[in-house]
């Protein structure tokens, strides 16, 4: 897709992957941060990680099983928090622990039976060894995430404002909420190889947190967050590959730095000097 600008296939794949991942995660991140379920990031990431471990153990596509596990968490999360009458955050904590246990079990078992399992790429990301179809998958999920927000913007904004008030006003909260979890699950699972389970959280939270420092409406956050994430991610990918540095950690650090600067520069915390 960007081959006409970037001649090198590896760099092109890496830049495209970072671009699409950052757009999908940042758009979904606005919803995640605004409804205070940031822990969904690492829960989904670790579910995908557990899925990848199971996939490798079974000798089938790690990505497909990672997607399946993330979707399973998405399917469980809503009913679990509704039925068990616990907060979404508590339900996420339970599922996070369960996912980690499954991942550790299979990694330990594979080591025990002499089938080595290198989890580095899944934990920290690897933009070099990407297949073309993985990049297409990310392109599709980033388009899906944007479409989801565009089509259901009014429902999403009402839920973000206050879930109970949204429900009382006659909005069908549950299908929208579950739809959102479904898209987050796929986005997280597909992004796992690129930015890694441990760093994915940064893309789901930080761009939205940066946008929040400057935006006075959710609409503008949905535009600013992916733009910031895309710009820093593409720059991070190019710089990382140019100077042989690990791309995902480098970009995560850059996002963190921009967040710090945003907090300092944010007009929202400025106290007026005016007396009138």
């Amino acid at each position: 897709m960007l081959g006409f600008i970037i001649q090198n296939n590896i760099v092109c794949n890496a830049v495209e992957a970072m671009l699409f991942t950052s757009i999908a995660c940042a758009v979904l991140g606005v919803i995640i941060t605004q409804i205070n379920i940031s822990s969904i990031g690492f829960t989904m990431a670790h579910a995908a990680f557990a899925g990848a471990a199971v996939g490798m153990f079974l000798g089938v596509s790690a990505t497909l099983v990672a997607v399946a596990f993330s979707l399973a968490v998405a399917l469980l999360l809503g009913p679990l928090s509704d039925r068990a009458k616990i907060s979404t955050d508590t339900a996420l904590g339970v599922l996070f622990g369960m996912s980690m246990a499954v991942a550790i079990f299979f990694i330990a078992y594979m080591q025990h039976i002499g089938r080595g399992f290198n989890a580095t790429a899944l934990l920290f990301g690897d933009v070099i060894s990407l297949y073309r179809h993985e990049v297409y998958g990310l392109a599709v999920i980033s388009v899906l995430a944007v479409l989801f927000v565009v089509l259901f913007y009014k429902e999403i904004s009402a839920i973000v404002f206050n879930r109970k008030i949204a429900e009382a006003s006659g909005i069908r909260v549950t299908p929208i909420y579950y739809g959102m979890l479904f898209i987050i699950a796929i986005a997280v699972a597909l992004s796992l190889n690129i930015i890694g389970g441990l760093l994915l959280y940064v893309w789901l939270v930080t761009p939205a947190a940066i946008a929040y420092q400057f935006c006075y409406s959710v609409r503008s956050m949905f535009v600013v967050a992916p733009l910031i994430a895309a710009a820093i991610s593409v720059a991070g990918a190019v710089a990382g590959l140019e100077f042989s540095l690990p791309v995902a950690p480098l970009t995560a650090v850059a996002l963190g730095g921009v967040f710090m600067a945003a907090v300092i520069l944010s007009p929202k915390r400025r106290i007026t000097d005016s007396k009138s």
């Binding site: 605004q34 009458k85 089509l151 259901f152 009014k154 429902e155 904004s157 009402a158 404002f161 206050n162 109970k164 008030i165 949204a166 429900e167 009382a168 006003s169 006659g170 909005i171 069908r172 929040y212 935006c215 006075y216 409406s217 959710v218 503008s220 956050m221 929202k268």
Partner: protein, 246 residues
């Protein structure tokens, strides 16, 4: 009791929370006509909020029959909530929350529109009318989190007025309002009821009531212990007397 076109018709309803040993609402029967103005009183924990949320279908009615706006609450809760305004009791908005008062008021229309539809001219007109009615023009473009508790409460009332409901349920809408604003909002609600919108309000402050006969419903331990219509200056004494355990 049989339903004859009342906006609310409850027949011996029970409502229980999941896991609770006893139902919170026990055997309430109630009929409210269009345009009626009713106040729900009673001690804390009597089930007043639960009654409102049973009426709009947010809580599950376990026994009895309930019809609101001509629909069975147990089967059509979602459709009922599109026609019923509900001003919640407790709310907290982060000072930096990225929504202006005007956006929040327009949200009152979102449920009516249905999926995949954008707010149109009629929706913005209804929101503007609600802003004018509640006198919120000066704060309409301010983030809701930066407003005072009273202003936020007025915004939530305006949000539900913008919805153009057939029935308005309000849970302690005066709790954050000063005396003058209380009288003003009470007048707005009275006007709504004159236009045929039934108003059912949980209330503990009776100093801003309209100067007309008012129906009072007093709850105790999940049941209705008083249902009568009286002059506004008698409301407080009657609610107080009925609320005390005999």
């Amino acid at each position: 009791m049989s339903c004859n076109g009342e906006i609310i018709c409850l027949e011996n309803i029970y409502t229980a929370y999941e896991g609770a040993a006893y139902p919170v609402i026990r055997g309430i029967s109630l009929a409210i006509r269009q345009g009626e103005y009713a106040i729900v009183g009673g001690p804390n924990g009597a089930g007043k909020t639960t009654l409102l949320e049973s009426i709009n279908g947010m809580l599950t009615i376990t026994h009895g029959n309930a019809y609101v706006c001509g629909m069975d609450v147990r089967r059509h809760g979602h459709e009922i909530r599109r026609k019923v305004g509900y001003v919640v009791q407790s709310f907290y908005f982060d000072p930096l929350t990225p929504f202006t008062a005007e956006e929040v008021i327009t949200m009152g229309r979102y449920g009516l529109m249905g999926l995949l539809k954008r707010p149109g001219e009629a929706d913005y007109r209804a929101a503007e009318a609600a802003i004018r009615l509640l006198g919120l023009e000066d704060i309409a473009h301010k983030p809701i989190g930066t407003l005072s508790g009273g202003q936020q409460q007025k915004v939530l009332i305006a949000q539900n007025i913008a919805k153009e409901p057939e029935l308005m349920l309000l849970d302690e809408p005066f709790s954050n309002l000063d005396l003058c604003t209380r009288e003003f909002v009470s007048g707005v609600l009275r006007e709504l009821s004159r236009k045929g919108i039934a108003v059912v309000m949980v209330c503990h402050a009776f100093d801003g009531l309209p100067d007309e006969r008012i129906r009072i419903l007093v709850m105790r331990d999940g049941s209705l212990c008083l249902d009568e219509t009286c002059d506004p200056d008698l409301v407080e004494a009657k609610v107080r007397r009925a609320s005390v355990v005999q």
